[in-house]
Symmetry: D2
Subunit: 440 residues, 4 copies
């Protein structure tokens, strides 16, 4: 078998003093952090689309990266080469999971039947590699946004034929996920929204989206899928407005349509910030409401208004992310999927390896820091102490439900003025974070 | 009684050919539009705070407008003068409703008891004016964000004393609203959020906020309040992140805590855009989910990242707003409250009248256009036609629940490719809107 | 010759009461507004790229619009068909000008020589059509951003070969512009910026960009180009940061490198707002500094952070744009180029006609309103009056240069306090604008 | 003399293993980094306004922090107490410089004459403390934005009386700066912009602003000021649009009005990001154009659209800032002024000390990392190598000015296609930064 990433050696941990660009400086897979090995805590996954497909095309330029993997234009040959290249890459990087859209794996045919056939062939190729390598599937999904037929949406399309076609595609994507033993199935509704309200029946569209999600759950549970369904919120792009704007709007939707027992969230860092939230906010909010699921690990540019899907390099972000993950008790069915692509000017295949290394090291640093933060205890103790007034007296009455507006008014009338406020100490706490980060 | 707005005459409708700055050009109160008089359709309300209180202070400058209304520093005298000035202003503008925070009406005392006393005195003054003029209360609310005691929130404060104080304040604000016959009670949680997650227990805060809202409902229903409770979403400012970020997050919250039968939303234009949504989106989303309530009529600057609370002057916005209101069948307990203030450089009292005139005329134009849009029918017919495929065949099976992923997959396998997509026609529809707007 | 836009009839002015989607409601080409015919005032131009090339591809989806114009994959046949289709379209819409990138006209070859040959062939085809129809070229430009060779920029590329290639392309694009009698030559530096400062020598890049611009001027003046060079500012996208961020940064650049006598600005509405400015701001700022040139007529979505290039439909924007154009005395070498594309879901060729109609009508409304605004005089008089204090006394001394910090301090010491401020009257002025708009 | 910051001890360097909140962990004043002591490299300055004046007031809430410093409402007593408190604070923190607005030092009087008198008294008090402590003045400025008289601007006011008053204020602020031996004088034009173009004569306003700046230079040079004038760019807030939007627009202005030999820029981190630029971009751009001057050290919230003026805690930002400073050869007349305030909920005086400690440590870390980055050399070598093609052959001809569009076209015609592009390696470079940061 030919080697596709010939420039890329097996990547090993060499520690922070190494300057070898092909080495991990912080990610030491078998090292125990927070009670588990780093590889178990982090559950890194390779994204099939960006890693094996994205060629640097942007809205103002055509592809810069050659991802033909030695093939000559035949799409099925390419699909097979991608399998080989992908498993080579995951092995070289020591990545245990992959994530995919149906359309990433195999080319779409002229008919859905042809597409199914293509997918079946590639499925077998992948199963062989999985068996050989022990690499697992984290989750699967269906691409219902690239093809022109989905121009107005899939589940929310104003055209029943399109809805049906999407259903057909999703059925097969679920089949594939189950075949691979995937523990999650994702819906990202890139065109499940609207371009203008002038032509949109929002109520019908939301009802239909829920119909599609419900059908998917019913089908998958019958064929034995035991994993989680995820919705991946994103506020906008490609459509002007997407219904799954952020964690909160997605939860509102899931509850309204009684989908909340089957669905969790797949939180993406870049989508969080595009919605006006921090990455940590979306994770905390998901946790607080019982919808924490999986993570799309990437990074946006806070000064740009579109999805840049950069590889994570900001340790502040990954530290607070991993703090939330550790507080949740770690991942169950979810993991960290690198929904990230190299910059258009990083056009060599080895740039992809460099990018994964920086991404994995950045999350490794995040995990180390988050664990230290919890061990250190100062932040958690501060928070616990801050709310202590709800454990006694009037505070306990509020929490237990004994207090009423009247009894509290009487209490307040006695009080005179509040004399018990305490400083929020934001600056001191930020100093503690820096101190923990920069004394590893 | 002295006249406070001496420069401002009684404002009358003179039609679009008038150049009198003290005349309505489009708002003709008794003219019937969409089956009701304009005054009934629009239900304009004066905001006590901005109109009678805001003095032009901003983060980099002190007040420019003299709103002492002839008083000399005594706060109770000022509060009474504001009542007289407010009713004079509403009468001159022909405004039928007012909205208030407790703190706008009467000065806070050294103790809550003193505050109650002050509020009682002003309540009586207002009741006299209401009886005399027939002006009504649209809604009331309590200011639990200005006083330093609320530095970390009210219902979400990490201090039970603060929660209790807020409860005491809200109890009285509800009493006042009931006394005035108000049909709504608003919660805007300007500090119900966080500055940094480093010091925040989000779960506890959300639970506590719900406890406060539940207590308020229970109290109010007992004392006979039959109106609606509203939450007014705003994403950020003053706090870094507010829990009631937008309509969707508020609805997620209301459903989680089973507050959905008592609460509706008070949608503000400027808050919508700060959250990354159009004003119309928030209204449509509220309607679609059954939470449409009332409206804070103002306008933000789309290039500024803070709440500018400008008087509405953009007719595109008000037309689409009134389209949603008409589609909803008009207001029931809600109305259009001008949560808007004159610019700091518009420092004369008559600027407030100019501002209300432009705001009321802009909504009057919006109403006229929205009504024409519905009469015209082209937009609505387009939308209806666009989704017609769900009324027959496979579409009807989807809607009725008969279809499954399997039956749809079979249908799609037969179909080959989708050949039934239709253009979204956004540009043509935008042309229709302009045509209707500019042929009044 | 086959008809490409067979569904689209000749578009005529039918006035505002028409509901014919294939008619102008406000654009009446020969009507005199502000002393010239509307067609002369507006100087509409068709953009070759969006109109004849854009197929609806976005970052998450492939093309929806068939722009093969009956050809079968041969790129030169397609290029010729585009010429025929373009001139048919311009004639049907009554558009007098076109704008182009070299790469829009003819396919790039395997070598620059081949590209030149292709361009020569299409040049001749176009010249025939120009002669036949009387349609003129507004401006030309070179696409130095789509091809992978420009991944790191063209004039600012860190690779001299790329700089040279760009120079070769631009030379020919200038030749074409001169051959067509174009009155402008545009530089839009989509990749003239950086992705990260970590790999960037900003000083070298700016110096090089200026070298390229200077060479272009020198070459063009020698071969007889008498028109204007334009830089088209855009802050970001595709690169993270572009040097020609906005009008001000472009002017700083032009002055630093002494390019200010040959260059003016091509202001695009959507680029203005992406930079944090209003469209009117950029026009006013360009005028105030003597750099007003030409306009890319389109519209962004204020809630989206990327270039949506929508057809203009907001009359507020076009009214204030045309106000600036009229105040400037109209266009000289510039005009209104529709750098705008139909939405991806508007996939039929006739949607392009609908879109141009709404764009042209929106600018026609803008022109009518701007002219009315100037005739009306209230706004201009207000401004003139507002600054009147600089025409006499201490104000005149300030303006004439007689005053010094010392003499002014003495004056201020005498003054006591400023008692002469006047209200800015923003709300009243906004009411006047609405009144003029809605009483056409 | 009473102690104002009684809770705050003398702050000393204890190293990164310390958990003492009242100790520096990274700032070791006398340690040599990059050839100078840290205190010389960093030149920290205390901002008089935020540190001694800001009381936590925001647009939705009144003050939370008691900054009466033991006084009882008499403004001159307060001004004197602030002097004592400020010097105590600077000594305890080991800060060598202060920055001030005239209005921070002494209360404004009923007349300018009275203001002058107040300022004279406080000047003497400060001079005594300066002599006693050796603390120096970094720069002074005049507050021409808070008082209502400046509602429409100062130098750009449409009222000559206001211009004159501002001139009188600035004259005295320059006098004070000279008396204190300050090495810089700053203009921040918070109201030098506009709220709406409807009432604005931009040309007149820009001309007048330049007149004011020129007068200030002329006056100051006569009385012996040898330092730098600075403009501090900020895009918006308080006005909708400020003329000194960013570094580029300010440089365009300075060049147009021939003020470039006297003025440099005072770059603020939070203002940079509000303008859509990174902090590093503004510093690099200023350096590249020869306008680097001084720095306002703070930090914004990238998800908030207003000036939060937070204390710096993000080490990525300070590292790249100090990289630019070191590359410039360090500060000459400028320094690092903490234009930063504690959060409203951090209401104790000791929070200010915590905040300065985190800010100073964050910049100390930044300096250490920047120095390591330069020592390490990988980044700089990469950049140098990247542009190497301009040192030979065709590249050298481009740089020397020998090349023309024609000769380059001939070169490109020979070349065929560009085969010499190199990867931009953004991901690898980001990994190097992290590696240097996290191996201190």
């Amino acid at each position: 078998m030919s080697e596709f990433f010939a420039d890329v050696p097996q990547i090993k941990y060499e520690g922070k003093s190494s300057t070898n660009p092909f080495a991990f400086k912080y990610y030491n897979p078998e090292e125990i952090i927070g009670g588990k090995s780093m590889r178990e805590q982090l559950k890194f996954a390779m994204s099939w689309w960006h890693t094996l497909g994205a060629d640097g095309t942007d809205m103002f330029g055509s592809g810069t990266v050659d991802k033909s993997f030695g093939t000559d234009g035949d799409l099925m040959k390419l699909a097979k080469a991608k399998v080989a290249a992908g498993f080579e890459f995951m092995q070289k990087l020591g990545i245990d999971y992959f994530c995919f859209h149906d359309a990433d794996l195999a080319p779409g045919g002229r008919t859905l039947a042809e597409t199914y056939e293509n997918e079946e062939i590639i499925k077998e190729t992948i199963l062989v590699e999985m068996k050989k390598t022990g690499i697992k599937n984290l989750w699967g999904t269906s691409n219902c946004f690239t093809h022109p037929r989905y121009m107005h949406g899939a589940g929310t399309a104003p055209n029943a034929d399109v809805f049906a076609y999407a259903a057909g595609q999703i059925k097969k994507a679920i089949d594939l996920t189950v075949a691979f033993g995937g523990t999650g199935y994702v819906f990202w509704g890139g065109r499940e929204g609207y371009e203008t309200l002038l032509n949109t029946d929002m109520e019908m569209e939301l009802d239909n989206m829920a119909r599609l999600h419900r059908m998917a759950v019913e089908y998958a549970r019958v064929i034995g899928f035991r994993g989680d369904f995820y919705i991946e919120p994103k506020p906008k792009e490609p459509t002007k407005h997407q219904y799954d704007f952020d964690a909160a709007s997605t939860i509102a939707y899931l509850c309204k349509y009684h989908l909340d027992s089957d669905f969790r969230l797949n939180i993406e860092a870049n989508h969080a910030t595009l919605a006006g939230h921090t990455f940590q906010h979306e994770l905390r909010y998901a946790r607080t409401n019982g919808f924490f699921g999986s993570i799309d690990a990437n990074q946006g540019d806070m000064l740009l208004g579109w999805d840049t899907d950069q590889f994570p390099s900001n340790v502040y972000e990954t530290a607070m992310c991993m703090y939330e993950v550790l507080k949740e008790g770690g991942f169950t069915n979810g993991g960290l999927n690198f929904d990230a692509k190299t910059r258009r000017g990083s056009f060599e295949l080895k740039d992809i390896a460099y990018a994964y290394i920086v991404g994995m090291d950045t999350f490794a640093l995040g995990l180390r820091i988050a664990d230290r933060l919890i061990q250190d205890g100062r932040i958690d103790q501060f928070v616990q102490h801050r709310y202590a007034s709800y454990q006694r007296g009037i505070g306990a009455e509020i929490v237990s439900g004994q207090a009423t507006l009247k009894t509290l008014a009487e209490y307040a009338l006695q009080m005179g003025e509040v004399h018990t406020n305490q400083s929020g100490r934001q600056e001191e706490l930020e100093g503690i974070i820096n101190n923990i980060m920069f004394s590893l």
